[in-house]
Symmetry: C2
Subunit: 495 residues, 2 copies
């Protein structure tokens, strides 16, 4: 059987060209995808969680289409400088000194937290999750290679990428962001270390460590650390090759990070690293930019627990994921209590309908065109991963189920196909979870209430000397492994 | 208030000296502990899971005593050679070629699985979890430092530790394992690459990569990879200093791995890396050594699920942890279906008693000597982490609770202390979990049964025209958020 991607060929909005393009992988049937992962010096930002959830959906759909996918998402555990001009100290090392602990303790704490959040959001681990500190020698080799080409220079133990020389020799720095050289020059600030650069738009490949800098490695130029942009170039090349299929990240990384990555990769390989660049859009909270200083901010775990003045209640990770999927990954998404409440209703309606599906009886013939519906769903997903359109189609199907007793009928074969398709779209592709994570608690609550009713009925039966009912209750509870205990404070139960 | 470690000073069985010694940390109030972590090229072995669970208990108790603990447990993601003679190819790279995937994909898969198993066993993540591939430059620096001292030599692009020269100059290779030089010579096998060594007992610090070797890094001697023993020396030194407090691992690592680590650390620093060496003992299955070839083997996840011909049923991770804690970490532990069933009974009895504790009423005066009992518990733990004795004391306390209505009485203040102490010992120190992981399912099952009883009582009430009872059931279920639905197949409920 042909893989699904031949029936539903994928098209992707390519940020590099600004065009929607047919997706043609480098190696037929295989996809290499690199996504810039989190910097693990603080809690993962909700915007980043959205980016990674979007690429999880993309990872799931690529695999569903029949591609063999190698999905690489890095952990930035060093080398993320404090500002765009690549000066100042490493963010992770700074936090470590403040808390008087080792930088790698910070890295560990926030890496564990990050994995918990992504696991709650039902995102698969990537195929490879490389760290910046785990690829120092690869980064040093890349710096050397760019120096050898003459597109970088050493200055006081640091090495800078020479944007002017690169562009004068056919390079295209600015190709992704569309910025012109004179804009780039004007846009940079006068900051510590800038005097080492030939031009303000040059960026660091390697930085000499100041005496107080904790995270440091030997190199041919100085004991220092790699520039932040370098790690992604080195790791994507190592695990996906010089040319690969998809490079993704949040829109805020387009410039300078991704622009610099492209320059570094092209400088080394004379080929573009990634063919398709994909960028997820920003999110806002109550219509405004998230900002810690104004208090207009929320963490993923606060969203789940409801522990925030901005929320009436917590929302299960599956509801949050559904909410994200209701918007296209390339659209701005506004989080708010009301929008999440509405999403929760939709999410629960969808999941109840899927449960109801199991109780539907098959008819002799089908009265709806199932194939056309499935086709529409795949068309939506293959059109640049259009999850909101897919969800609209799912709600169309819900209507059929809700009116199932009266309106539609499905043959036994179609009913199976319908169930499989709905499950596949809702759970495998959108990544919703059948039960909320606290389903256990919901059952416990309901059991408490049901048992207090049973205990009351038993007391009543005894009072009425209705021994038949009292015995029935006793026997059935015994069979169920539920014990009643009469005490001074009343009757309790235990399992 | 003085920290608890002053009231209950810790003593540790030190494998290095063979003595039980008073524990005195290098820096008062701080403990640095390094434990050799898993090699992530296959499922974590149950024996390793026991080792890491034991050190999790030790980590918990050290923190409980009031120490600030930095607990480093590495991930061996490269450089673990196929045999003791340090020749042959890296195990991870070999598996990768077999499966036609990138070595780091294997690493990622089994790292994720390993974390899942340890999380199920309620083990805290270590403070730092460094990887071998993340510390190549530190390892190269250490090789250089040993070469500079004259206690290693280069041979055909590889570098070997010169055991004879080291011991001739005051080194003590053999100090941990108690092996003599002539035994060491006799014990090695003639294997590929041995001809590069001056003496069979020499071990590799750096190995030149064969052309087919995938995982490779540049070095002053060759493009190659570090010897397996080196990573732990480099990472323990980096994160804990040249001299630190505790080094742990499974007993199988004593020789050659830990012996080589000590030699490497001493060669670099002229100090012993760790002061206290702790080794967890092996485990057997049905009285025999675990072995894949005979089928006498079981994985942690099979233990939890019961998916093994050797088990009648699955055991919750908390029961498995309790079972491990019932034996001292330095004793051989035999796993079997019957022993686990017995442990489950004990575990459940302990946890039920803890629940019952919440229902105990305080008396005017206490009839038991609580302080002496708490004292005994801490004495047990501070005596080389004696969890089986602690558990025996916990069962003594259970007896008090079980006979609470008749035998013992506790004042209100003592009752609080008793509850806090029991919770602390069972949950904080032994690391048991209040609910089994599938508590949600247990509640769901019980709810199903309770609701089928309620539905039957409702039907009976209606039949008897007992409208009072029928209304009571209707109202209370409504209040509980439980809906009944009468259908052709009978009555169902939903939340």
């Amino acid at each position: 059987m042909d893989p699904l991607y031949t029936s539903y060929p994928l098209s992707i909005d390519n940020s590099l060209t600004g065009e929607k393009e047919a997706f043609v992988p480098v190696h037929e049937g295989n996809v290499g995808m690199y996504v810039c992962g989190p910097t693990v010096y603080s809690d993962v930002h909700l915007g980043n969680a959205r980016t990674f959830t979007s690429f999880d959906m993309i990872f799931r759909y690529l695999k569903h289409l029949g591609y063999k996918v190698r999905y690489v998402r890095n952990i930035t555990d060093a080398g993320h400088l404090e500002n765009d001009a690549d000066t100042g100290e490493d963010k992770i090392a700074k936090k470590a000194r403040l808390e008087q602990i080792e930088p790698m303790e910070i890295v560990q704490r926030y890496t564990v937290d990050f994995h918990k959040v992504m696991d709650a959001l039902n995102a698969f681990p990537p195929s490879i999750e490389p760290t910046a500190t785990g690829h120092i020698s690869e980064q040093i080799e890349m710096v050397q290679s760019i120096l050898d080409k003459g597109w970088a220079y050493e200055s006081n133990g640091s090495v800078y990428f020479d944007v002017t020389a690169y562009n004068a020799n056919g390079g295209a720095y600015g190709i992704l962001s569309g910025r012109k050289m004179d804009e780039l020059q004007a846009g940079t600030r006068a900051l510590d270390g800038q005097e080492e650069k030939r031009n303000p738009s040059d960026f660091a490949l390697w930085k000499k460590a100041s005496p107080s800098h904790i995270m440091r490695w030997p190199s041919p130029w100085s004991v220092g650390f790699p520039g932040w942009h370098l790690e992604c170039s080195a790791m994507s090349t190592k695990y996906l090759g010089e040319t690969f299929d998809i490079h993704g990240g949040g829109m805020d990384l387009k410039f300078p990070h991704h622009e610099c990555e492209i320059a570094q990769n092209n400088a080394c390989s004379e080929q573009k690293g990634a063919r398709y660049w994909m960028h997820t859009n920003m999110l806002t909270l109550n219509g405004k930019r998230m900002s810690k200083s104004t208090g207009n901010t929320i963490l993923p775990r606060e969203l789940f627990s409801g522990d925030s003045p901005l929320l009436d209640k917590g929302f299960s990770p599956s509801v949050v994921r559904f909410f994200m999927m209701q918007a296209h990954y390339s659209s701005v998404l506004d989080f708010s209590n009301d929008a999440l409440l509405a999403a929760e209703k939709g999410h629960d309606r969808l999941l109840s309908a899927l449960e109801k599906l199991d109780t539907l009886d098959a008819s002799k013939e089908s009265t709806i065109g199932l194939e056309a519906w499935i086709d529409k769903c795949y068309q939506a997903m293959s059109d640049n991963f259009n999850t909101p359109i897919l969800i609209a189609h799912l709600f169309e199907a819900i209507k059929w189920i809700s009116s199932a007793e009266s309106a539609i009928a499905l043959s036994s074969a179609d009913l199976s196909i319908f169930k499989a398709a709905l499950h596949s779209f809702a759970f495998d592709l959108l990544g919703l979870r059948k039960k909320s994570l606290d389903a256990g608690d919901a059952h416990k609550d309901a059991l408490d209430k049901a048992m207090s009713l049973v205990i009351e009925l038993r007391a009543q039966a005894r009072l009425n000397k209705d021994w038949g009912t009292a015995d029935l209750i006793r026997d059935q509870l015994q069979e169920a492994g539920i014990k009643l205990k009469d005490g001074a404070e009343g009757t309790n139960y235990s399992l």
